[in-house]
């Protein structure tokens, strides 16, 4: 567990990154109520996830705090000893659903953020290198990308997880493998048009090394088109991860994500005990919809063609 200060830093960094992304386009971004609403919801959910230990009434990992006697209580019920109210009910092992959701939100967000960032890094390097090297290297790399992209991400991820087995690191690895090709293709397109520009020619004339041109000159110009895509991609990754967890090949039971919580409660839903999977599902919907709406607004606000 990171200490509070460090987590606060993460949050501030995230908000600052968002503000910088919007630089001067705030008026184009904040149009209409849905923009305010989705940004607000996203911010609240991020704060809740980052500070889950502080906010949640119970630590779902601490077995000493759980009581099997409190299993499958309806929302609003009090615990057996009357000291505690389960606002969203409990699951079959007496875990508070609300706490489970907060911690699960954390797992879901961490997995997808890390996977997206790593996949982006790999994709950028491969895509840029392919565009730079050209010739056979480019053909081989892009063929690989095409091959992978011709398969639905869920199938590839499912196969990988079947081969790897369960585990947080394995889920992240599988999600990285699923996504890198997407970034590689996008970056290659950008890099191809950028390498033809004068500043690259100028850098070559100066006799700079290939590595320096690639990383100092080409890289900064290849990143911006990716930022909006990666925002939406985080949402897709969350859904993919939760689908994998739902199918039982995702995160381990000891570290439940939202998808796993939903899966755990599914067996009880037909008997009318809806809260075990309903509330985690609502949380999942909220975070994914918020990210998607923010991404949609960002795309419109940052698209130079739509600028008025």
């Amino acid at each position: 567990m990171m200490d509070v200060g460090l987590r606060l830093l993460v949050l501030v960094f995230g908000v600052a990154w968002f503000a910088r992304l919007l630089r001067g386009q705030g008026h184009a971004y904040f149009t209409g109520i849905s923009a305010y609403l989705s940004t607000g919801v996203l911010l609240i959910l991020l704060v809740l996830a980052i500070f889950a230990p502080e906010f949640s009434p119970q630590n779902p990992y601490d077995l000493a705090q759980l009581s099997i006697m409190d299993g499958r209580l309806a929302p609003g019920a009090a615990s057996m000893d009357g000291a505690f109210t389960y606002h969203l009910g409990t699951d079959d092992q007496g875990r508070d659903i609300l706490s489970g959701i907060l911690y699960g939100l954390r797992v879901s967000l961490t997995v997808s953020l890390v996977a997206t960032l790593v996949a982006m890094a790999i994709g950028v390097v491969v895509g840029m290198y392919a565009a730079w090297a050209g010739g056979k290297t480019e053909v081989v790399l892009m063929r690989l990308v095409d091959l992978q992209l011709s398969f639905p991400s869920i199938l590839v991820a499912l196969m990988l997880m079947a081969a790897f087995g369960r585990g947080l690191d394995k889920v992240i690895l599988a999600l990285v493998i699923v996504q890198w090709a997407y970034y590689a293709r996008t970056v290659r397109g950008t890099a191809l048009s950028e390498t033809g520009k004068d500043y690259i020619a100028a850098a070559k004339c100066l006799g700079l090394s290939d590595a320096r041109i690639l990383f100092k000159h080409l890289l900064p110009n290849c990143i911006p088109p990716l930022l909006v895509i990666s925002t939406i991609q985080v949402a897709n990754t969350i859904v993919l991860e939760s689908s994998l967890s739902f199918l039982g090949v995702g995160v381990p039971i000891t570290n439940p994500s939202l998808g796993l919580l939903i899966s755990n409660g599914y067996g009880y839903m037909l008997s009318g005990q809806y809260w075990m999977s309903m509330f985690p599902g609502l949380a999942l919907l909220a975070i994914v919809a918020a990210i998607n709406l923010v991404g949609d607004r960002l795309r419109d606000a940052l698209n130079p063609r739509l600028r008025r």
């Binding site: 869920i154 689908s243 199918l247």
Partner: protein, 313 residues
């Protein structure tokens, strides 16, 4: 062809990294002799490259091995489960068109007013709904609360053209509605967004002005003239998405206990039934390649320009 060849290699070695099926097939207290016998029966005693060679040889003859668990030919098993998935995907596709096209066209027609904006925001929610959760929600509403529709299973089937289909069976079609709707929601959002963008562009074209000048009703302009012109991007994307629909059926089938190949795949993964996993993937590759071909053919049917070029060359 390159794709298929590459897949054979990747799939084989990928799948053969998964666990040791012997552990699952035989009871833990089996003697060493029994273990060796079973290994020999399934060909596990051979070195990996030889297993691969045998696999390719058999695959070329349409034999992808026998299921370890079911004892049937893996291909036959897949083919047995395939119609259920295909009919589900087909109905899902139909639903997504019926839902997505009118909504998208209307959203494009009223792009600057609130109905258009509301529909577009709605599509983002459509994207955001996790597939399995929608299914559970539908079960909760229509099966548990209202008790209108059955929650899981497939119901009756009738034989149509040699395939067991439940869509046309009197006691089967209601089993399909919820899974197909679940599958369709995501694609309907996609169709709606494509149709909206297409309609917005098409409305600025001269032929729409001309149609208006002729005094045609707006409904006719939208659903005859505009619709024809926005179908091309919709069909090409949907064709590609049909593949992902079959893949996502894995999730939907699990939720609804629909006996299709997706559920077969999940069961096979948990039971480490390698030949079935391999066969599933190979069949999926084949289906994908076929879909791409069909999409190309549909193009020529929908777009006269492509057809003309083809005939000239």
């Amino acid at each position: 062809m390159f794709v298929i060849a590459a897949m054979v290699v990747i799939v084989f070695f990928g799948v053969y990294l998964i666990g040791n099926p012997i552990d699952i097939l035989i009871s833990p207290d089996a003697s060493l002799q029994e273990i060796e016998d079973t290994k020999a029966r399934f060909g596990f005693h051979l070195p990996l490259y030889q297993q691969f060679f045998n696999f390719v040889l058999n695959a070329a003859q349409g034999d992808l091995g026998r299921s370890f668990v079911h004892g049937e030919s893996a291909v036959a098993l897949i083919l047995h489960y395939m119609p259920a998935t295909l009919e589900l995907a087909a109905l899902g596709l139909l639903f997504s068109l019926l839902l997505g096209l009118p909504l998208g066209i209307y959203a494009g027609y009223r792009a600057r007013q609130w109905p258009g904006k509301a529909i577009m925001t709605g599509t983002i929610f459509g994207f955001s709904f996790p597939n399995f959760w929608v299914g559970m929600l539908l079960i909760l509403i229509f099966s548990v609360q209202l008790q209108w529709l059955p929650s899981t299973g497939r119901g009756e089937t009738v034989e149509v053209l040699g395939l067991q289909l439940s869509l046309f069976a009197p006691g089967g079609w209601q089993y399909m509605l919820l899974p197909a709707l679940t599958l369709a929601l995501h694609k309907a959002s996609l169709v709606a967004r494509l149709a909206q963008a297409g309609t917005q562009e098409a409305l600025l074209q001269d032929y729409v002005k001309f149609a208006r000048a002729k005094g045609l009703s707006e409904v006719r302009i939208l659903f005859v003239h505009v619709l024809k012109n926005i179908l091309i991007p919709v069909v090409s994307v949907l064709g590609l998405e049909l593949g992902s629909m079959i893949a996502f059926a894995v999730v939907t089938e699990t939720v609804f206990s629909w006996p299709g190949m997706g559920k077969l795949l999940i069961d096979s993964i948990t039971k480490l039934d390698r030949p079935v996993i391999v066969a599933y993937l190979m069949m999926t590759v084949l289906v994908f390649v076929t879909i791409n071909l069909v999409v190309d053919l549909l193009y020529t049917a929908l777009d006269p320009r492509v057809r003309l070029q083809g005939e000239q060359s």
